[in-house]
């Protein structure tokens, strides 16, 4: 019966039968034979287990970490250990004389204030130390919600966005980048509203000591999305309640004592002027910044400059002033130029700042002699 049916089909419409047979054959081919033609599989060698073992035996992986230079090893093993913070001074292990603290970012000198410590002690007594859970899971303690930094570039990388960079703080360059994007929009006929765009800047750049021109930028607020999608919030334990209590106390103190900010500003401006007057140095940060970045005047190779600056910092420590050189990790895409970083805070008196500038000037003069001699 089937035979008749087939013959009938062929007789009535032979073209149809040919096309359909070809299609069926093609499907069968895709299903059963195509796999062996997959280029990935073709290149996979068919090795015996012994051959694989031999390859593995031959393979020599690199060490887990690349060897460190002597300089780096000594940097890692001889970090200064602070034993005590007392006012604007630090007691450092192995150094008898206390050092004037011109290194940390406690700009308003709040970290050691008695009020702050009391707030921390009270919170510790009430809540213990840790929060024992992420914010979503009973890690939200009432004190968290009373007060509110992270590596921006890594964050941008992880968001898998298309990244365009503009020259640091250069609004004209930003405008150029934005125009390029607009031109591209036109080219690919992309609606401006189809792509979400963020301009990411920092308020005060730690590695440069300058401010972003905020009036020319916009501010965006993103609270609920942050709660649900930000990895740090969902997957990381909440900050200990005592730190939030201390932060709230600090905010309260800031509101109550606006003169702290004025004192900081006066100190920053004085330091900026006084350091800029030291021969051989040039200040690269802006006058309002409590972080003063100092580079060597004149163009020199970065690695050599770094060594000179480290020498200056070391001499300053010997002279009783704790300041630091800017640090970055090797994988940084846009490493900042080498600088000395001097911070001031509201606790510093004019005499202390003058003293620090004197030590820095002497250290610079001593360090620059051999370089110029070369």
């Amino acid at each position: 019966m089937y035979r008749e049916w087939w013959l009938n089909l062929v007789r009535e419409d032979p073209g149809h039968v040919v096309v359909e047979t070809a299609l069926i054959a093609f499907i069968v081919y895709i299903l059963f034979f195509k796999k062996t033609l997959n280029p990935k599989d073709l290149s996979k060698p068919n090795l015996s287990s012994r051959e694989i073992d031999e390859i593995i035996d031959d393979w020599k992986p690199e060490p887990l970490v690349p060897p460190l230079t002597e300089e780096e090893t000594s940097e890692a093993e001889s970090m200064p250990v602070v034993q005590e913070f007392s006012g604007p001074y630090l007691r450092v292990e192995g150094i008898e004389k206390p050092l004037l603290n011109m290194a940390n970012f406690d700009f308003l000198g709040m970290g050691q204030r008695e009020e702050l410590k009391q707030a921390a002690v009270q919170a510790l007594d009430k809540y213990g130390c840790g929060s024992c859970g992420p914010r979503g899971f009973y890690g939200t303690i009432d004190v968290h919600t009373k007060g509110v930094e992270e590596n921006v570039q890594t964050g941008i990388n992880l968001s898998r966005s298309t990244v365009r960079t503009f020259k640091h703080n250069d609004m004209d360059d930003l405008e150029r980048v934005l125009k390029e994007i607009a031109a591209e929009d036109k080219k690919v006929k992309r609606n401006v509203l189809d792509q979400r765009r963020f301009i990411v800047v920092e308020g005060l750049y730690r590695n440069y000591g300058d401010l972003c021109p905020l009036p020319r930028l916009l501010e965006l607020k993103v609270v609920d999305h942050q709660r649900l999608s930000a990895a740090g919030y969902c997957y990381s334990a909440a900050a200990p309640p005592f730190t939030s209590a201390a932060a709230s106390a600090a905010l309260g103190m800031l509101r109550a004592e606006p003169n702290l900010v004025a004192a900081l500003r006066t100190n920053a401006e004085f330091l900026h002027g006084a350091v800029g007057a030291i021969p051989g140095l040039k200040v690269t940060s802006c006058a309002l910044s409590p972080i003063v970045h100092v580079a060597l005047a004149g163009e020199q190779e970065a690695a050599a400059v770094r060594l000179v600056l480290q020498g200056i910092a070391k001499r300053c420590a010997e002279g009783g002033v704790a300041l630091t050189t800017s640090t970055y990790i090797p994988s940084e895409k846009f490493p900042p130029p080498p600088t000395i970083r001097i911070t001031t805070n509201a606790l510093h008196t004019r005499e202390q700042l003058e003293q620090a500038v004197r030590v820095l000037a002497e250290a610079t003069a001593a360090a620059l002699v051999p370089v110029e001699g070369l």
Binding site: L64, L68, V82, N104, S131, H225, A237, P240, F242, T324
Partner: protein, 474 residues
């Protein structure tokens, strides 16, 4: 299957309400529909939709604010919503509840005043609440040095470095160890922080079946033979990343065979003991001790201080070279501010107690209590017929709920019975495998746990969670 139906129903309903809201211009989300003139909307529509119509409906299960220490009992601040669950407002009322949600494994949050206070408070006499600077630049205090030496000794490693954030420990250490040309072989259920770290590192990533040493072996063999994709050059190095306890599964790593396979194939082992350190093993030394693996065979030992130690931050312990490398080249150390000296002192004190160096047996008693409490609750939940995940001796006990509506109901029913439990849904778990997670503490008394088991039995009955008996859970 029902889980799919629930999602479809909720999504359809949500779209319908969006449509009605747009047509009649009356909706509590009206503001969201009207994007600012000239700007692309901040959220793509589905993300926004998920937040509005799915998350907001059941958001009362999360972010519950508390106003006490995270001990065996906590004071939860009651909340109410006046706009149909779009936002929640706090009330003045609080409710005392049995805490089955915090990572307070060893109960240091319960007896903090008696155990840790005397070690922590004196630090504030000489050191500030925070260092406000990174480690190298005068951010290292004697408190940090003491902690690092103690952790290294506790784990039998040469050296150790501490970070101020647990998540950041993984997210910055992995990029410091790996680069293009490095292969990371990661357990498929590894924590988000590890995934972030691997992505940021730009390394190649392969995953192997959860806790399956055989699959790891075949992945490693194939990867080493094939080399890098396209160029076929040999890998620079291979790093196997596993966790001690998987926090969403409650499972303990099958460490011994995994380490053996990794060693055989010259791969380095990175062990994340965020949940297992201090909670697992006879003396609290984590997954290595529990599985009988020598810590010398684990190249990078990572852990956190947030859980058993009642602190914050994390550590990496390993060889001298490794730690020096991280101290000078890891963003988490070079850029991030140093851990608070107060927290460092807290962890030192807790660790001394666990190691018995305080001259008491408090540490040993806590460890034993944690183990007994965990196994008691796990057995009872299994007896109830719930789908319990994980292994005995693990203080993390997840039970599958699946359906999002049941997540919400379970959380609310437990809340009404005075139990603070964690329910976990998307994005922390697969969309279809919502679950509850019960965290046991040494601070729980037997009466607490008996109460919990009795009430959980009621809730399991009410919410149809006895999946062990039939698929409908009835």
């Amino acid at each position: 299957m029902t889980t799919y139906f629930t999602f479809i129903a909720v999504i359809c309903m949500g779209h319908l309400r969006d449509f009605v809201g747009k047509v009649f211009r009356r909706s509590r989300y009206l503001d969201d529909f009207q994007a600012k003139e000239g700007y692309a909307p901040l959220f793509k529509s589905f993300e926004n939709f998920f937040t509005r119509r799915l998350y907001h409906r059941i958001q009362h299960c999360w972010n519950r604010p508390v106003c006490s220490s995270p001990g065996a009992h906590i004071e939860v601040i009651e909340r109410e919503s006046k706009d149909g669950m779009k936002t929640l407002q706090r009330t003045d009322r609080t409710k005392r509840m049995l805490n089955l949600g915090s990572y307070n494994y060893l109960g240091f949050a319960d007896d903090w005043g008696a155990t840790c206070r005397s070690g922590v408070m004196p630090v504030l006499d000489t050191l500030p609440v925070a260092c406000s600077i990174n480690r190298k630049d005068f951010g290292t205090t004697s408190s940090h040095v003491e902690l690092e030496q103690l952790v290294a000794r506790f784990l039998g490693k040469e050296d150790c470095v501490v970070f101020n954030m647990g998540y950041g420990t993984n997210a910055t250490t992995i990029p410091a160890l790996c680069s293009a040309g490095t292969l990371v072989v990661s357990d498929c259920l590894n924590h988000m922080s590890i995934v972030s770290g691997c992505r940021a590192a730009g390394a190649h990533i392969r995953v192997f079946k959860h806790n399956d040493a055989e699959d790891l072996e075949s992945v490693l063999r194939e990867a080493i033979v094939m080399g890098m994709p396209r160029t076929r050059r040999p890998w620079k190095k291979v790093l196997v990343v596993v966790e001690g306890i998987y926090s969403m599964e409650g499972e303990v790593a099958d460490l011994a065979p995994i380490v053996k396979v990794a060693k055989k194939h010259k791969a380095y082992v990175y062990l994340d003991e965020a949940h297992s350190i201090g909670a697992l093993g006879k003396t609290g030394r984590g997954a290595c001790e529990y599985c009988g693996v020598d810590t010398k065979d684990v190249d990078v030992m990572m852990g956190t201080f947030t859980k058993s130690f009642g602190g914050m931050g994390g550590y990496i312990a390993g060889s001298k070279e490794l730690i020096n490398h991280l101290r000078t080249r890891c963003a988490g150390i070079v850029y991030h501010n140093a851990l608070s000296p107060v927290v460092a002192a807290q962890v030192v004190t807790a660790l001394r107690i666990i190691m018995g160096e305080d001259g008491t047996d408090i540490g040993a008693t806590k460890l034993r209590a944690l183990r007994e409490n965990s196994n008691f609750v796990r057995r009872k939940l299994e007896d109830m017929g719930m789908h319990v995940l994980g292994d005995y001796n693990s203080p993390v006990i997840p039970a599958l709920i699946y359906v999002p509506a049941k997540l919400s109901a379970f959380s609310k029913d437990c809340y009404d019975r005075g139990m603070a439990v964690v329910v976990v849904g998307f994005p922390a778990t697969p969309l279809l495998a919502g679950r509850t997670r019960i965290c046991i503490s040494a601070g729980h008394s037997r009466e607490d746990l008996e109460y919990a088991v009795e009430k959980l039995d009621e809730v399991a009955e009410k919410c149809f969670l006895r999946y062990g008996r039939n698929a409908m859970g009835s």
